[in-house]
Amino acid sequence: MMIVSKIKRGSAEFAILSVLAEERLYGYQIAQTIAERTAGELRFTLASLYPMLYALEKRAWIAGAWEMTRAGRKRRYYRLTPSGRRQLAPMRRQWDGFFRAIQRLSGAAHA
């Protein structure tokens, strides 16, 4: 089950960095955006999201800061750092390659 764990971990990091590459978001928004964009295939819970956000922040791939929302609520917004952006580009290539490989395998299995 090691590979499943690795894929989950890697895809979760990729998903977070990808949504933050477009705009700064707070935790709940990150989870919602990922769920919406993946039609519910990837869904974070609080328990899975925050340890990962803090780990990414510790690596300085993302940075969090408290701000007020338009509705006047205090929220901690995360944005992608230049270092995170540098990580994202090769990650995209790797995931593209990975899915192409899986599709080829899947196609071969159905042929």
Partner: protein, 233 residues
């Protein structure tokens, strides 16, 4: 509406969680649950149902507290560094020391003669390329960055450098160098410096080049493992 901040604080700091949580973490998690709860109400749930749904976001609070603490303390990074740098590097360093002993024994039975030292040294450099390749490969498999793979491969050379450095800072050797300056006839400095230079070139520089040469094929592309790292999601 539940007092989410109080609720999160209570659950995160409950017995055996093993973690004292910073207030800003408690506040952030409480805001998340509050948003989740309000979304439930907006979707037509009752207050009780919405609260239960929000609480279901965390099944094991002590585990969450430990995971958060681990992530905030840099435990993830440390674990990653151990797997991608320290482990392959240390094993490579041990092999670098252990293999010459074996090579020496084998060579002494095969090439007994005046050139044996050259054969042993040449064999050692050849083996170092394999050790460099092995360390870089291990680091790449564990998801190491190019910098970590390079460092893991060069770890044995760094160990030799540290050992030589500690020799050079040895007080007795310092005394010899100082004595050679004041009485060159007794301990000629010109005789000591080539020995040190030979040690640096033969003991560090050439081994480092051999290690790096072995590592090169594994330094090219970024590892898939680095984005498919193990952990909890």
């Amino acid at each position: 509406m539940p007092d989410w901040q109080e609720l999160v604080h209570e659950r995160l700091t409950q017995r055996r969680s093993g973690a004292e949580m910073e207030p800003e973490v408690t506040e952030e998690l409480a805001h998340y649950l509050e948003d989740f709860y309000k979304a439930g109400l907006d979707n037509g749930l009752t207050e009780h149902e919405a609260a239960q749904r929000a609480l279901a976001e965390v099944r094991n609070w002590p585990r969450l507290a430990r995971n958060i603490k681990f992530a905030r303390d840099g435990g993830e990074m440390l674990k990653e560094r151990i797997q991608t740098l320290w482990m392959p590097g240390l094993v490579a360093a041990i092999l670098t020391v252990a293999v010459p002993i074996a090579v020496d024994r084998v060579a002494s039975t095969l090439f007994a003669g005046p050139h044996m030292a050259i054969f042993v040294y040449g064999g050692w450099l050849l083996i170092l390329t394999c050790i460099g390749a092995f360390a870089a490969y291990w680091s790449r498999r564990a998801g190491g960055s190019i910098a970590n793979r390079t460092a893991a491969a060069l770890f044995p050379a760094a160990t030799i450098l540290a050992a030589l450095g500690s020799l050079l800072t040895n007080p007795e050797l310092k005394m010899v160098v100082i004595a050679s300056v004041f009485s060159p006839g007794e301990v000629p400095i010109l005789r000591i410096l080539p020995v040190i230079a030979n040690s640096v070139v033969g003991g560090i520089l050439l081994p480092a080049i051999a290690l790096l040469a072995g590592a090169l094929p594994f330094l090219r592309e970024k590892s898939v493992g680095s984005s498919l790292r193990a952990g909890t999601a």
